[in-house]
């Protein structure tokens, strides 16, 4: 009797998430895959099965945009991590009782609108923006720099700023989880602080770093809002192409094809990162 009650309860616990997951994720993504094989005639399902959409993707444009997206997203993720790591280290190791305060301070900016934060970078990097005005005031330049805005570096720095908290938190968590006795043992055995860091702490914090990379890379790869606002045409990313197919170009099947390709390209790195995190972060 207890087993059947348990079975009932088990079904109950997995049902809500199951419905949401199957309906919202599995079925929806299957529809995307299905649509990628249909011909576009401006109706919902198109009218015939075809491989033409995938053939269209062989045009050099798509490889170029995909590569650019990977470079921009990858650079933004690396930049985010490099900037966040020392801060996370400080909070984990030296902040003591003020840890919660520091974490609150770091996450607070992200409680405002993401779009407005991106726009704020426009106000900083723009022709009449804060940076140009400051540089002119200091006499370092005579006319405003054009290259700050509407180019890929603007997208990289904006994304690095927008996703900073997503990097700080996992790195902080994995640093905190390191047994302090390991570092202690290292220095007791004569290792220099730099050595202790490079050979004990840094490797042990890798799960957090990897998690941070994945958490930042995936959304930034598909972002279309930031490139649209601060990137200019030179920064068109794959997310912009997909969004355009659902907007002004109105070719849903081709948009779905692009989406399928992005998911396939992400599958390998994401799965391997997940395995690496699991393997390194496994607890006894």
């Amino acid at each position: 009797m207890r087993r059947s009650r348990m079975a009932g309860f088990d079904a109950f616990t997995t049902m809500p998430a199951g419905i949401i997951g199957i309906g919202g994720v599995a079925l929806a993504l299957c529809l995307v895959g299905l649509l990628s094989f249909r011909t576009n005639d401006n109706s919902l399902f198109g009218h015939a099965f075809t491989l033409a959409n995938y053939q269209t993707l062989s045009a050099p444009l798509y490889a170029r945009v995909m590569l650019r997206s990977i470079v921009i997203a990858g650079s933004a993720s690396l930049l985010t991590i490099v900037l966040a790591y020392p801060a996370a280290y400080f909070i984990a190791m030296y902040a003591g009782r003020r840890q919660a305060l520091w974490l609150s301070l770091v996450t607070l900016p992200f409680w405002t609108s993401y779009l407005l934060r991106v726009f704020a970078w426009k106000a900083i990097l723009g022709y009449n923006g804060a940076l140009n005005s400051a540089l002119m005031q200091l006499g370092l330049i005579h006319s405003p720099l054009q290259s700050l805005l509407y180019r890929p570096p603007a997208v990289m720095i904006t994304l690095a700023h927008a996703y900073a908290a997503f990097a700080v938190l996992p790195i902080f968590a994995s640093l905190r989880a390191i047994d302090p006795r390991l570092a202690q043992a290292g220095s007791d055995l004569g290792a220099s602080p730099a050595s202790v860091f490079l050979r004990i702490i840094l490797p042990l914090s890798m799960p957090g770093v990897l998690a941070a990379f994945v958490i930042v890379f995936i959304p930034t790869l598909g972002d279309y809002a930031t490139p649209a606002l601060v990137g200019g045409l030179a920064s068109t990313m794959i997310g912009n192409l997909i969004q355009a197919e659902f907007s002004s170009v109105s070719n849903w099947p081709l948009g779905c094809t692009l989406a399928v390709v992005v998911m396939l390209l992400l599958a390998l790195p994401v799965l391997s990162a997940t395995f690496m995190i699991r393997a390194r972060g496994a607890r006894p």
């Binding site: 401006n42 045009a59 050099p60 444009l61 798509y62 170029r64 945009v65 022709y127 009449n128 405003p144 054009q146 509407y150 200019g232 045409l233 030179a234 068109t236 912009n240 192409l241 355009a244 659902f246 907007s247 002004s248 170009v249 109105s250 070719n251």
Partner: protein, 355 residues
């Protein structure tokens, strides 16, 4: 044995946010009774439909778009406003996609006051029915800084001039950027073959590296012209009018190859249910006061001839408006429906993305 207390507790906690669901659903009822209008940014100002607001205190729910390409896509994806605002060149596409319903012109009080030429533009009347109420018309040309651009440019080729690398802006619309490139490529913009489309793509590709702003956001273009970040931009005449008001030294070019004239109007979407409100809104928009307000605010021509003529011609000249639509048709290039629009849209997107 079921734990009633536990379940009761769980259910009561769940019930709380469900109280917000009436806002989602019942809000529908409120929104259904409220007219839904989908129009160009800048046209949502209350002064353009003041008459409607007086008769219907709950007002109209107005959503805005930057270009009618975007509007078409959004309506296709399931957005259902009652009224929308495409331009003449898009009208056949909207009609063929089954998005709109005919207009009963007997219910539009000022119908006969609208310019006959505009009322008779291709596509407005089809199958013996009227599909659009013309509302606004004006010009597209180049607004340029007279103090930052050398000489007296008189050609669209200014937007291809490498001397102004990264100091140029174009409007991100097929009826603007693509159309001008087609003219400069020497093809008929409205009857492009696939080979023609390749030529136009090549023309756009040459221009792309020089362009600082590729956008439908005219306020940014205005600001860039005002600050000198951009020295010449493809714009509608409202930009020229606004900058002149601010005292910026600008001119609105008269290109050799002719400037463009566009005409847009209001359409009733197929699912629109409350036709009384729809016609009230159309009447409010086509009123004389609204026509004058449109001209005074943006320098755009109103389709309402009585309103148009009531503005002194000296003022109209200052807005860089043609004397009337007949002159516009003769002296400028009227933007008409383009053939092969799907191929054009795809090619345009490809070139913009760098392909």
């Amino acid at each position: 044995m079921i734990d009633f207390r536990g379940v009761a507790l769980a259910l009561s906690v769940l019930a709380l946010p469900m109280l917000t669901l009436p806002v989602l659903a019942g809000g529908s009822a409120r929104a259904d009774s409220q007219l839904s209008v989908y129009t160009w940014t800048g046209y949502e100002l209350p002064k353009f439909h003041a008459q409607y607001d007086k008769a219907h205190p709950e007002g109209a729910a107005i959503t805005v778009f930057g270009g009618d390409d975007e509007a078409f896509a959004k309506i296709k994806s399931g957005f259902h406003p009652d009224i929308s605002h495409p331009c003449i060149d898009k009208l056949p596409q909207w009609r063929e996609a089954g998005l709109i319903q005919p207009i009963d012109t007997s219910r539009i009080h000022n119908w006969e006051h609208l310019f006959p030429l505009l009322r008779g533009l291709p596509g407005i009347v089809a199958d013996g029915k009227v599909w659009m109420m013309p509302w606004d018309w004006a010009n597209t040309s180049i607004t340029y800084r007279t103090d930052l651009v050398q000489g007296h440019p008189d050609s669209w080729s200014l937007l291809w001039d490498p001397r102004y690398d990264q100091r140029l802006a174009v409007i991100d619309e097929t009826k603007d950027a693509w159309l001008i490139a087609a003219i400069m490529a020497g093809v008929d913009p409205f009857k492009e073959s696939l080979a023609d489309i390749d030529k136009v793509s090549a023309m756009l590709r040459k221009q792309l590296p020089l362009i600082r702003l590729y956008t439908t956001d005219m306020t940014s273009v205005e600001q860039s012209l005002a600050s000198g970040e951009v020295v010449a931009a493809m714009t509608w005449n409202a930009t020229y009018v606004n900058l002149k008001k601010q005292g910026i030294p600008v001119a609105f070019m008269q290109p050799r190859e002719k400037m463009l004239t566009w005409a847009c109007g209001l359409v009733i979407l197929k699912g629109a249910s409350n036709l009384d409100k729809v016609y009230d809104f159309l009447n409010a928009m086509s009123s004389d006061e609204t026509g004058v307000a449109l001209m005074r605010t943006y320098g755009y021509g109103t389709a309402n001839k009585a309103a148009f003529d009531s503005v002194p011609s000296a003022d109209r000249a200052a807005m860089a408006l043609p004397q009337d639509p007949e002159h516009a048709l003769r002296d400028t290039l009227f933007v008409m429906p383009m053939q092969n629009r799907d191929a054009i849209a795809a090619a345009f997107q490809t070139v913009k993305a760098g392909g």
